[in-house]
C-alpha cells in the first residue's frame, strides 16, 4: 500500500508492505537507525518516537497507521544539527546514558513527558518513564537528567 508521512519535518511517500512496523519503516526505509528494537512485547520503550508530538512505541504501530501523520525521531530532535535539545544536553551533562541502546527511546519519552509536565517531581519522572527500560544506569542519572532538563527548559 502507499503511505504519505512527514518524518523529522520532511514529507515523503512510500510503497510499503501492509504489515510493516513503524520502527522498521523508520530504520529501513527512512534510514533512521537511531531508534532501536529492544523487545517483542511493547515493554522496553527503546523504539519510542513522537507521533504527532506524543510518545509512542514504534514497534507497536503499523507504518500504515501513520499515513498522513508526522513522526519525530531522535535524529530530528535538534533541527539541522544545531544546538542539542535541552533533554539531549542534560543526558550528556548528567551521564544519563552508558551503552546508548535505550537512549534514543528514553530521550523521546522524556521529551514527551516534559511537554505534558514541564516541572515533574522525581516520582513523576520515574512513573513517566515506567515504559522505558535501561540495564546500564540504574535510572539514577536518567532521572537526574530529566529533572535537570526540566529546570533548564523552564528557566
Amino acid at each position: 500500500m502507499k503511505i504519505g508521512t512527514t518524518v523529522n519535518g520532511a514529507a515523503r511517500q512510500d510503497e510499503i508492505e501492509d504489515r510493516l512496523l513503524l520502527v522498521h519503516y523508520l530504520r529501513d526505509r527512512c534510514g533512521l537507525t537511531a531508534t532501536n528494537v529492544g523487545c517483542d512485547t511493547t515493554s522496553c520503550g527503546a523504539c519510542t518516537v513522537l507521533l504527532d508530538g506524543e510518545s509512542v512505541k514504534s514497534c507497536t504501530v503499523l507504518a500504515a497507521q501513520v499515513d498522513g501523520r508526522e513522526v519525530t525521531t531522535v535524529e530530528g530532535l535538534s533541527a539541522d544539527g544545531a544546538d542539542p535539545h535541552p533533554v539531549q544536553a542534560a543526558f550528556r551533562q548528567e551521564h544519563g546514558l552508558q551503552c546508548g541502546f535505550c537512549t534514543p527511546g528514553m530521550v523521546m519519552a522524556s521529551v514527551s513527558l516534559l511537554r505534558d509536565n514541564p516541572k515533574p517531581t522525581e516520582q513523576e519522572v520515574r512513573e513517566g518513564l515506567e515504559g522505558n527500560f535501561c540495564r546500564c544506569t540504574g535510572y539514577h542519572n536518567i532521572v537526574r537528567a530529566v529533572l535537570a532538563a526540566a529546570d533548564g527548559v523552564s528557566s
Binding site: R27, Q88, F101
Partner: protein
Amino acid sequence: MSVMGTRVVRVEDPRLLSTGGVYTEDLRDPRLTGALHLGFVRSPLAHARVVSVDAAEALAAPGVVAVLTAADLGLPAAPPMMPNFNPAMTLPALAGDVVRYAGEPVVAVLCEDAYQVEDAVGLVDVEYEPLPFVVDMRAAARDEVLLFPEAGTNTVCTFGAEELDEGLFEGCEVVVTREIENQRVAVASMEGRAGAAVPDDDGRLTLWLSTQAAAMSQGAVAGWLGLGPEQVRVITPDVGGGFGAKIGADPEHVVLAAAARHVGRPVRWTETRSENLVAMCQGRAQVNTVTIGGTRDGKVLAYRLDVLQDAGAYPRFGAFLPALTTMMAAAVYTFPKIETRARSVVTNTTTIGAYRGAGRPEATHAIERGLDLFAAEIGMDPAEVRRRNLIPRFTEPHATSTGGFYDTGDYPEALDRALWASGYDDLRAEQARRRERGDEVQMGIGLCVYVEITGAPLGPEASEVAEIQVHADGTATVLTGTSPHGQGHATAWAMLAHEETGIPIEKITVEHGDTDRIPDGTGTFGSRSLQQGGVAVQQASIELVELARQRAAQLLEADPSDIVLDKDRAALQVKGSPTSAVTFAQLAEKEPLGVKTKFVAPGPTFPFGAHVAVVDVDTRTGKARLRRLIAVDDAGTVLNPLLCEGQRHGGFAQGAAQALMEEVRWDADGNPETSTFASYPFLSATEVPSFELVEMATPTTYNSLGAKGIGEAGTIGSTPAVHNAVVDAVAHLGVRHIDMPTTPQRVWTAIQEAAR
C-alpha cells in the same frame, strides 16, 4: 590543570544522543549490501530426540535461500572449554540428534529479507520425540535423568574438598546451617546478540559481532570453524550492553559465520528478545549450603560453603563459576577455618555463563546472608557481628586460606562509613518504633560488607595493550585492547592520553575492537579495563612523550634531558626557552610518531565496600519496596567520578533487582515462563530510589593509577544488602530466611509460616 579525578562529560554522547550508536543491526557497510538474513528454528522442548527435519515447505516460501541443519554445515561440536570438564559434554553449533533445552538452535534459515525469515522459520517442520527432562539442579545432581548418557553423570566438574572435615565445627557454641539459593537471572542487555558475516574473496571472513572481546571471539569462531585466527577478522560495532554474556563464541555466531561461507554471500543476524531470553547465556544459578559456627559473643570460628552450580545444558563459563565463588569464600573476614566444596551439573536449561560479578556475587551473598542467620541465632546486631570478624586494615597483601591475595583494604572503615552515612542507629530506632506500634508497613535494614576480585586474567597474565599515534593535524588516535560497551573508554582513555601529552581530549580518538587493527587486545570483562587497559594507555602516552623528547632533542639540537613537555601547547621545548619548541603535530609531520605498549599487572586487585539497604515491607501483602541504598564502593583511585558513579548505579539496580524480583523460570513441563520482557521482571525506574553514594578510595599498589575495578562491585554489594533488609523487615515476626527473589508471595508465605 590535571584532569585526573574530574567529572569530564563523555565524548561518546553527542553521537549516541543524536544519530544514535551504530549497533550491529544498524550497520550499512557496503560489504553487507544484499546480505541474507539468518533465523533459527529452536527447540520447543526441554529434552528430546530430533526425529526428522522437513524443510520442503520452507524452501518453497518466498525469499528462502537455504535451510541448513548441523549435517549441512558440517560443524563439529565444541570441546569443553576447561580441562577439568567432563569431556563427553560437548557443545553443538546446531543440535544434532538431541536437543537439551527449550530454545536450543536446531535449524538455520536464510532469506533475502528480514521479514521473510520469521515466516520461513515457522514453516520448517521438525519432529521431536520427547525425552525425560530435568530443569532443577538438585534433581539433576541425582543423575536420574542424564543429559549426556555417554558421560554417565550430570556432573561437569568439582572443586575444593573431596571429603568434608567432620570436625570443622568442634568447639563452636553455635552452629547455623542453611541452603540458600542464588537464583538464575537473565543478562538482558538492551541489545541482544547480533552479528554480520562477509566471506571475503581471499578466503578470509569478516565478522561484525556484538562482543566484549573481539580477539576472544575471533579465536573461538575460527577454532570452531577449523580456521586459523588470522582467517577471521572480528570488528566490534557499538555494543548495547554485555554484562559478561558477550564473550567468546555462541553457537549462533559460528552458524552465522559458517552459513556465510556455505552460501558465499554476506549474512546478518539479530536475535529477538524472545530468543535472547532463552538462548543467551544466563547468570548465577547456584544453591549454596552455608554452615557457620562460632561463639555466643559473635566470633565466627569455622565456615563451610558447599556450592551446587547449575551449568545449564552445555558446560561453558557457568560450570567454572564455583572456582571464583570458592576462592572468594573467605570474604572480608578472619574466620580461622574455612572449607569449600563445589560441584557443577548440567540441566535441561539455558546455558549459564558470566553475568556481572560472575561467581563473586554468589560468594558474597552466601556469607553475608549466612552471617545474618548467625547474628539472629545469637541475638546480636548484624553490624556488630561483622565488626567482630572483619580483617583489620592492611597495606601489605593479605593472603586468604581459599586462594585470595588481597592487595589493599580497609573493611572496618568501609562499614563504618556506610553505617554513618545511613544513620544506622536512627534507622534501628525507627524500626523499633514501627515494630512496637505493629505497623502494617514494617522496615528492614540490610548490610553487606564485600571484597571482590577484579582484573583476574583468563590467560597466563593480567595484561592489556595500547597504542597511541599522533597525526600531523594535531589529532591523536589511541588504539586499545579493551572493548567499551557503555563504560566510557573513549572519554577515559582520552583523559589519560591528554594528561600525559597535553593533546586536547577532543582531538583524541579511541579505537577498539578490530582484530586487524588491534590483533593482540584482550577485551572488557571482569572489571579489568581501567586497571589494565587504561594503565596501558597511560604507559603508552608516557612512552610517546619520551620518544617525542628524543626526536625533539635532535631537531632542536638540545640534550634530551633539557627537553620539557609543555602540555598547554602539546609541544616539547628546550627548558627555559619557550620559542625553541616543536609540537607533537610537527614531529608527526616529519615521520610517523607512535608507540605501542603492553601493561602487565602484577595480579588482580580486590576492591571492597559496604552497602546498607533500607526496605519497606507491607506485611499484609508481602510486597517489599527498596527505600534507600547507601553504598561505599572502594575501587582505589577514581579517574572520572562521573563514569565511576554510573557503573555503581547500574550495578546497584541489577543487584537489587535480583534480590527483589528477577528470576528465570521454567514450568512443570520444562517450558520457559520468562521469555519476554512482559514476563521477565526487568526493573523499571519506579522500583528503585535514587542511590546514596559514599566516597572512599584506597589505592592499589599494583598500577600507576592506583585503580581497581568498579564494573561489578555495585551488583556484588547490593544483592545481599537488599536481601538481608527484606528478611530483617519481618524478622521480628519470626522469619529467618526467604529465598530470592523475595517476591510478595514468598514474603507473605514466610510470615504466615512463622506465625504457625
